[in-house]
Amino acid sequence: MTGEQPATSSPAPAAAGVPDRARGLARYTADLIPPGTVLVGLARSPYAHARVSSIDIQAALKIPGVLAALTPADFDDIALGHQGADEPVLTRVARYVGDGIVAVAASDQDALLRGIEALHIDYEILPHACSVDDALALDQPLHPAFLDNVARRFSAERGDWEAAQKRVSTWVEGTFQTQAVPHAYLEPRATLVRVYDDRLELVTGTHFPSVLAETYGEIVAGWGARLEVVTPDIGGSFGAKWEHPTHLVCLAFAHRLRRDVAMVLPRRDDMISGRTRVAMRIQMRIGATDDGELIAKETMIWADNGAYTGHGPSVTLAAAIRMDNLYRFSALNAQAQLIYTNNVPSECFRGFGSPQSAFAQEQLIDELAEQLRIDPIELRRRNAVQPGDTTLHGWQVGSCGFNDCLDAIKDRIQTHRRENPMATSDRYRFGYGIAGATHAISNRGYDHRFDRDMMSLAVEPNGVLRIESGEVEIGCGTVDLFAGIVADHLELDRERIRLVLGDTATVPHGLGCFASRTAFFGGRAALDASRRFAQLCGRLAIDIGLPADTAIASVIEAAVTANRTMELRVTGSYEPDHVTVPDESGYGNISPAYTYATHGCCVRVDTATGLTTVVCYWAAHDTGQVLNPQRARGQVVGGVVQGLGFALAETTLVDDRGHMQNPGYLDDRVATFADAVPIECIFTPTFEKEGPRGAKTIAEPPIIPVAACVANAIYDATGARQWRLPMTPEWVWRSLCAKGVLAPDRTAD
């Protein structure tokens, strides 16, 4: 059957660089929806856990403008989830408030809303659990295959635990609670599906177009159609935009109706059905010798998976072991479980599981320092991982500037202390805190087949050089980085370069923008492609009768004149050879290099209200050679402010029926201009020989140590340890009461 749509694809959109974005010329998914596109909406479950006993769509279908409806029966064989495959597209059993039950397609917004209202859905309410403890105690499984509601268990034991324990003279321990936080990107989830004669084209902002094309491609193939994925400009994601049921709902309607369809989530829907950071309870203890040698660390984690499994398994494993790699422990023991609840599905979020585990670990390191009477920076320095180390988890450390980061922060704090004598009073207390962090670049365990990137360079008939990559620009500066590397290497004018990113019909394979891997992997692929392109230009030059060392720009010009631009096309790639697929316990050299950081801050705590104000913040990072200082600084400052939101303000509040109480920016307490704090960004460069021009990466590390850093400063100011996030005035005040810091007339209860 031939549809009304044109049979050929529209040209792949060029990814916008900063100047275009500043002029409002970037095109996000919702900007590409033409008038007359079929609109899609969902009827969502109002219950946290309920069986759908009946669905009646007849009344809805009679409403003028309503074109079709889809029910769970239309998706019976499909389950989504890169690491779990447990999320129905539309569900017969609602597992969180907001779970999609019926989808409606209509010709306009009014008809759509009336259609959704006219649906009759009956539910049989089931007992629900909105905390990991409730879920473990629940006498029925949320997913039939997981009788105890534990979606995944991890265990990692390294070194000789018994021998190590004997050497420990001092243990410190604590139980820490971290919270779910929405990613709160500015561009809500949006999906457009275009229908062509032989295929469906999914247009959506995502981290990994190639994986979507693969995952959905198999499903769409079952319908007898083909799929391509186009990634337009992306309005932020921070780890949220992967597979999503709304994609398949739109694909199914487009296939059935043979018309373009679109769905843009209202902010509230985006928040209740989007994804959140994985909330965790972390019980941890760390042991050391009297002279400050870190010996052993034990970690137990209870992680809230939410209703379905996104990247919760990887995040939980990362939280269990990654931060261990910062120090030279002798023995480690980590146990973690990821538990299904009736909360919104959780996901990875900038920093993966490390902001959660850093909150615990870096506070306990400070606690140890105090008990051992060693300066906290000195304690970290003595035990810091060093270049050439292989850690207990199998990380082969190449470049490592953790000590330099520690020194830089020590210097900043000393100077600040000297130059700003703090007016500490009974009510207002000032304190300094520090915290360290490490992060991988990519994760070889993510896709067991490969971890690689490719880039093609091709000259268009008009002489413009087109960069084609499977990576996407998610706001980190990928467009400028790729164009910059190629322009620089080939000595070409940036204006003569165009980028096509994440259009699976035309670009070579790229695994995607996650794990802070794009600059490193994509950068290496860009260098390889540039080298090959230069060689090709040399050969073409000779063929045309020019000297072999003719400038690339002149060769391109000559190729245009000779109508031989078609010959100027190469593909470069990068795949590290010294990484290993980790085993089930996470052991392996998962990344070609590792990054390091230390943060420091000065806070003021109002003991009357518990309000913590960040006076000054310093972030020191070893990210190898810095390729673009301005953009790198942007990642650091942006990551720190997001981290301050996680530390002090943001949380997902759920009532006892499982309803999210704050599905909006205002009530989630996303940082505003008024919350901007002075942040000094310090790069302590190393040279990473595996990296592009000695560089490592910087997107995720800046958020990792923030909450721990602020918590340590609050402790320094008040003597009250922080066991839970976010450290809102109320909880800090409670911690002060528990510690007896407040005058008796101000204490709680």
Binding site: V18, P19, A22, G24, D31, E187, G638, V670, F673, I679
Partner: protein, 149 residues
């Protein structure tokens, strides 16, 4: 009921189907001014900010029916000289990451530059409190806007 707006200098009559709908919808869907972004639809984020008679407002909170005769300016209607300056400052200071909030901030920057007593009396951080950015942490936007003043 007839509603006529002047959008970016051009008179445009709002068709009946858009009377009673949000200014944001009219600008994007009818006039194709997709530089105006919808982030929340609740006036929290400021991505949809436009100038109404020179004053910044969230176009998601305004119904077209109450705007008869008003002058509306979107990012598309800002003077080229300003956009060139703004764009250069954003590039120089690293003030743009994903760029979704940027059109709203550009409109605010144009309003700041136009001056007025309300503007001079308050710091940028206060004046722009209604424009959210999840990427940058604000510092580099503040630097770019300060350079433009």
């Amino acid at each position: 009921m007839q509603v006529t707006l002047r959008v970016n200098g051009k008179l445009s009559e709002v068709p009946p189907s858009f009377i009673g709908r949000r200014l944001l919808d009219y600008l994007r869907a009818e006039l194709g001014l997709t530089g105006v972004k919808e982030g929340c639809g609740e006036g929290d984020c400021g991505a949809c900010t436009v100038l109404v008679e020179g004053q910044p407002m969230c176009s998601c909170l305004l119904l077209t029916g109450v705007l008869d005769g008003r002058e509306i300016t979107t990012i598309e209607g800002l003077p080229e000289t300003f956009l060139a300056q703004f764009s250069a400052a954003c590039a120089e200071y690293g003030a743009v990451q994903c760029g979704y909030c940027t059109p709203g901030i550009a409109v605010m920057a144009a309003w700041l530059q136009a001056g007025g007593s309300e503007v001079s009396a308050q710091p940028i951080t206060k004046l722009l409190e209604g424009n959210l950015c999840r990427c940058t942490g604000y510092q580099q936007i503040i630097e770019a806007l300060s350079a433009l003043q």
